[in-house]
Subunit: 347 residues, 2 copies
Amino acid sequence: MATIGDVAQVAGVSRSTASNVLSGNKRTSPEIQERVRRAVDTLGYTPNAGARALATSQTRVIGLLARFLDDEFAPAMLQYILGVSNTARELGYDILLVSEADGARALQRITSSLMVDGVVLLNVAERDDRLDVLRGANRPGVLVGLPGDPSGLDVFDLDFAETGRLMVQHLARLGHRELLLVSQPDHVVERGGAYVWRLRDAAVEEARLRGVTLRTVAAAPSQPEVGADLRAALDAHPDVTGLLVSNEAAAAALPFVLRDRGLESPRDVSVVGRFSAEFARTFSLPYTSIESAPDRLGQLAVRQLVRRIESPGGREEAHGVRFISPELVDRGSTGAPRPADGGTIAG
Amino acid sequence: MATIGDVAQVAGVSRSTASNVLSGNKRTSPEIQERVRRAVDTLGYTPNAGARALATSQTRVIGLLARFLDDEFAPAMLQYILGVSNTARELGYDILLVSEADGARALQRITSSLMVDGVVLLNVAERDDRLDVLRGANRPGVLVGLPGDPSGLDVFDLDFAETGRLMVQHLARLGHRELLLVSQPDHVVERGGAYVWRLRDAAVEEARLRGVTLRTVAAAPSQPEVGADLRAALDAHPDVTGLLVSNEAAAAALPFVLRDRGLESPRDVSVVGRFSAEFARTFSLPYTSIESAPDRLGQLAVRQLVRRIESPGGREEAHGVRFISPELVDRGSTGAPRPADGGTIAG
DNA sequence: CACCGCCAGCGAACCGGTTCGCTGGACGAC
DNA sequence: GTCGTCCAGCGAACCGGTTCGCTGGCGGTG
């Protein structure tokens, strides 16, 4: 491999001059620039990343900590990863993907060895053991997903409370009085991020204000168990006309469950989900939904992270939580409720 | 950050001795070992990855080049990524995930800057522009997916020819005489790997030997177009009783299409797919299938790559293509064909 | 008791970049 | 013509590890 010393030699200049030409940090004469560039081309020179990292304490690599929990629905996570990866590359960074179970230790490893300039944490839990490590680390980090205590951290997330209100509003305005919200078991939610109950609590409150009945059920966050949970939920609440699905695994399984029951949306039941357009395409889901915008969240997170990485260390921009507003995408799965003439959803 | 110099100072030894204790490359007295270890704990020392890379020319990072094509069905790729990532971590390596469109340039960048010790190429195409770069690179690489010219490369792949034969065999033995193989358009196949026509050609030959009719159709490799393609295919071939699906997007859409047609498997049509068990779970697919084993392929690829990385540079193990044998997982979607009494698949 | 061999620990060099302070030549001003 | 200023390029130091050759103290042997 050619080194900058080789380049300098071929160009007939010193190593420092070659470095200055390539970095542009110091003014150099056009003639010298030309000679150095030609030498670079001749030798096919590429800077050694390790040496550069050692000298500058910068790697131009971003750590991406994805948590893949055993019972989690992985396809939803893929879109975050791609959003982060693509944005990072646009900004000139590479991605170190860390998927190991012990996220706290992994975070410790990659930050304290200075492998990365910063990190993005996905799937942040209510009480996430990675956060203490992050706060003590010497590299900045940005979260996707709101933890219980976000103090001193940069966080991006969908506004789940507003999402819950919006879902209830939408169905209530259409005339639905009996709603069912499909979430996830609390212990899973706690690990996987509190977003589900933030949505649920706001939805419950909104339903109360509007005098609408909103029942909530927990369904497994993974296949195939979620199918059985959905069936049981429909059996338990036969008079429900509106379904709110804030559980990606449940949304993906819903077409099969409705079909088994001989139900069609919106004829028999109106459905509003919370997932991304890409997710809907992938699973052929014909349901109106709140866009969860994983690509946009990933993009915002990386942009903010790079801003922190590249801002002169001294003055600190304030940390904080940024919510993105929910947007409803109409796919025609909602309408007026079926007449309440004794027909039941289990029909 | 504490350096090895700090550790040495606290332990009262020289830097080289501290290094020797930590690497274990040279014998050291138990007493010195103890002092150094204590100093490491006290200071919370972690080696600087850049410095180590510079000194050893090793980064303990593996580059993972995933190609996400516009019209490709991404969820299938996720399992390869996780397989690679988890295996790499087990062997003490981290993963640099590269998803950018220009894979050849990305490969050039990460190898010539010595950011990685080796690379795994996913989704290798028949004529893949990354291969020339890989052959010219100074780091080893392993492919998942067989290219047109695999000479001088390590390749792992499912035995797609055998897979095609097995699928035909399975249905022919059950008595099916009219089969339809759902593949992908040739131009997509060429880019995305030749596996689809390797399977198709073998299936066609096997059908010929058995005197069975096997028609093949191309369907889009992504949602939602694939649904329309499937419907058109069923319309065009109403007498088909056996379906071979070697297209993940088509497999994921098939339940919806069959439902629209009022068809059930295996009652009306027998189905054999080619996808992984995890994929089947994710998409609630009740179809008998050939296991595509992405996790196992990823694991084998990483193992082989690490072997190359860590083998003393001199003696070279022979390169070559390793196929894994297809295994059929029975999910009950195949049976004897419906009586050929004039009933048609288009019902 | 003297000599030899062994080996634990040390010091220095090296990996390949970046950066800082110095220098000397060119040019402008008086 | 002389002096001062400016700045392009140079050399050296530094980042934080690893490694190689040397050394000196110890134990064993004759």
